[in-house]
Subunit: 480 residues, 2 copies
């Protein structure tokens, strides 16, 4: 690999963003970034937050500007059941998560960013090229401009390989989506941007290895990586994809071969799952939420098994603004997400569950084979939508080759220390292809086709699909 | 055509549902159905409705059972603007719209139903095989069972050709979707069902001709017909589609040839359009809606240019229950929807607009080239989202061959005398392929691919696409 603009981690921090072509080079850069990272996060209680207030009428927690997000109530009306409710983060704006891609000697490289977030358990994680709320890029909080945003939105933007709105946690967010973009540029991009030292080009195979490291690749990077599954780390495949605008379409069409189900059957199964929902959800004032205590310093569920909303003061260097305060959602425990994979007819299939979550825009998305919210395994109630508890247990206990096992962080800009253990287990022919009706085996290619559209794969499933890309290799050692 | 189970319109009303193989046969049957149809609809005012009440606390209009639908408030918060609001119909349940299809001598035939709805301007219209709210088919109002529903949902169901949730009017409904299904059966189906005389098999080419008749094919039939555009009326094409489960996938993949834009570009354009929305909508109590008067007999906008909610008593024969009362939404004028089509590179393209509507689940869908709500042409405000008024006017005035021009009814179960004039105009090379950014030229094949998924084509665009199928033929004379 001797592409243009390439440089070692020790190169001076001027000129074009540099390429990290080995794990060692990455480790050196990451250690340097960790040393340079200064973010102090202090819990201060909700009433001590600057510009954030609990509205006297509604009880909602909101910013004085009316922007960013609010914490409101989510009320669920299910047929024949009493109303239930919970707090929820409402952020109707569509943010941007974008990764710039270029080829060097036929290998796709991604421009990644070392980025701090106040909720991260380890402060610094590897992020997309661009990770910006609409408030960020329309400059509502008067910070500095977002580097490289013009490659995704401006007239100078590159070749768009993927551009789709994808959902985020339906248990904590009200109908939240972000725009996931992958944009290809022909060569290097300038580095006369704020925080240039935080940007590096990483070869896709290295990025796949880094996904195996605990709490390194952040949620926003993972969801975008899932939307670029069609980019193969090998040069030949990458080139064939670039052969023409519809090469990808043709590869999609060819890939139902060997699939257990046609795409028509998959889509019909998924549509049917939405019709099982006999509930509807709506926003209500936070003051109308039962069984949660809204106190001066926090909002928390009375049983202590769900989550709290806490207030934090943040002092930072190298971010858009140097000091701010904000609420974060802290779950009461770790989540668990398991993806079973199995070759059938010589083609790798993944087991997905049609999974309802109250905060999802369209009721149901396809989740991992098994997904437990933080605390759900300790709870008497468990997951509200788990239709097949016995089969769910069978998935959790399935024996097979562990292809992936790591603990990763959920979005550190909204959640505080929200960790999920992600596992991919390859099962054998003893695990059935006939599954209960809320489950379906899909090929990876079928999932790739669905990922061109929103509302299909939930964020936990997308993380696991991103991790599956690199899971054939042995996990990399931690970088530092 | 001499398929099994075929019979003339004069055959006795026993045995299997009969095939109507000519316009004359259809006319005879339809005249008979109109004569048999007894539906008396009387406006009585909202307070006189049986089981419907204006809730004292919220002001919402609701049924005593909590089922069916409610009329609530929709509040819009746009960046930097005062709040605006309007009444909206909230019906979170997912209904079923299904058409049964069978081949007779290689020609697809659809099992259609003559069905009365209280809001229809002419009472009786041609409907899908199954048109049922969830309340209908879960028997909430204790009516008779829905004929043929088991072919769509039961264990005995046929081959599913299409199965997708599609939206309905975003100006009047809060995030309403219905399940659109096309199911193929190998032969005839029994007619020992309630109202068997209302069901007939119609060849697809005849159905296409009937689409040109004013107020004949109802909205529910049109949206399902749009989801089966891939079914060609010719025997050879119909057979090749049946060749294998992925024949359709292959045809989809081949059809970007000649397209002005790749599917990636189309999807990116559409995603981008959603990010232009700097507003969010939510349900609020109807009592919180400004500039609308909620009186004892009706709910209406103070300026008289939008719509009213009125109360009706209905006495029927041949429906699930013989007598009921319900509210209906009556628009203050007729709508207008125009689709421009143009061959480019020898391939027919249609001009669609990325169109925001406050009631849509996902902010924006692709609408016709030009869509005006009832009253919008008489209004000073006009369409709230019309970004390009000059280009909109150019579309309305575009000269070309009129391929379709008829007035059709919107859903008569929720709307009272809601009529839209639908026009399809084929323009020539003088109409530009470069269009303002809220518009895009797509091939019909690209639209067919998008129709496998929800959230892409709005209900007015779907009507026009259904009408495009038959528009190469001269319009049929009215049936009676």
């Amino acid at each position: 690999m001797n592409g243009p603009g390439k440089g070692g981690a020790g190169a001076p921090d001027t000129g074009t963003p540099r390429v990290l072509d080995s794990l060692d080079a990455f480790r050196a850069w990451w250690a340097e970034r960790r040393a340079a990272c200064r973010l102090r996060v202090t819990e201060v209680g909700l009433t001590a937050l600057d510009q954030w207030h609990l509205d006297p009428a509604s009880g909602n927690l909101r910013h004085a500007s009316g922007r960013f997000f609010t914490v409101e109530g989510l009320q669920v009306q299910a047929a024949g059941c009493p109303l239930t409710s919970q707090p929820v983060i409402n952020q109707p704006e569509i943010g941007m998560l974008g990764i710039l891609v270029r080829e060097i000697d036929g290998v796709p490289h991604c421009l990644m960013q070392a980025k701090t977030e106040p909720g991260n358990v380890n402060t610094l994680q590897l992020s997309p090229t661009v990770q910006a709320t609409r408030s960020n890029y329309t400059q509502v909080h008067r910070g500095r401009g977002t580097p490289y945003l013009e490659y995704f939105t401006g007239r100078t933007r590159g070749e768009v390989l993927a551009d789709v709105l994808q959902s985020e946690q339906g248990a904590w967010f009200w109908r939240k989506r972000n725009r996931n973009m992958v944009v290809k540029v022909p060569g290097d991009v300038p580095d006369d941007v704020p925080g240039a030292a935080n940007f590096r080009w990483l070869p896709l195979p290295l990025l796949h290895r880094l996904l195996a490291v605990d709490n390194l690749v952040n949620m926003d990077a993972r969801t975008v990586l899932a939307c670029m599954l069609f980019l193969r780390p090998r040069a030949d495949a990458a080139r064939s994809d670039a052969a023409g605008p519809d090469a990808l379409d043709r590869s999609f069409a060819a890939t139902s071969r060997g699939a257990l189900h046609t795409m028509r059957e998959v889509l019909s199964w998924f549509t049917e799952a939405k019709t099982w929902c006999d509930w509807s959800a709506r926003l209500v004032p936070l003051s109308a939420v039962d069984r949660w205590t809204v106190g001066g310093d926090r909002i928390t569920d009375d049983e202590g098994r769900d989550f709290s909303i806490l207030g934090f003061r943040v002092e930072a260097a190298g971010r858009e603004v140097a000091r701010w305060s904000q609420p974060l959602l802290r779950p009461h425990g770790r989540g668990l997400a398991i993806l079973l994979v199995r070759p059938v007819n010589g083609v790798l299939h993944v087991l997905l569950e049609a999974r309802a979550e109250y905060g999802l825009l369209d009721l149901v998305e396809m989740g991992p084979s098994c997904q437990l919210r933080p605390g759900a395994d300790r709870s008497a109630v468990g997951e509200p939508f788990l239709r097949e508890p016995d089969f769910g247990l069978r998935i959790r206990q399935a024996a097979g080759a562990v292809r992936y096992d790591a603990t990763l962080s959920e979005e550190g800009g909204r959640f505080h220390h929200a960790l999920t253990r992600y596992r991919i287990v390859e099962v054998g022919a003893d695990f059935p292809v006939e599954v209960p009706k809320s489950y379906c085996w899909l090929t990876v290619s079928q999932v790739m086709r669905l990922l061109r559209h929103g509302h299909y794969l939930n964020v936990e499933a997308r993380t696991l699909l991103a991790c599956l890309s690199g899971s054939a290799r042995p996990p990399a050692p931690p970088p530092s």
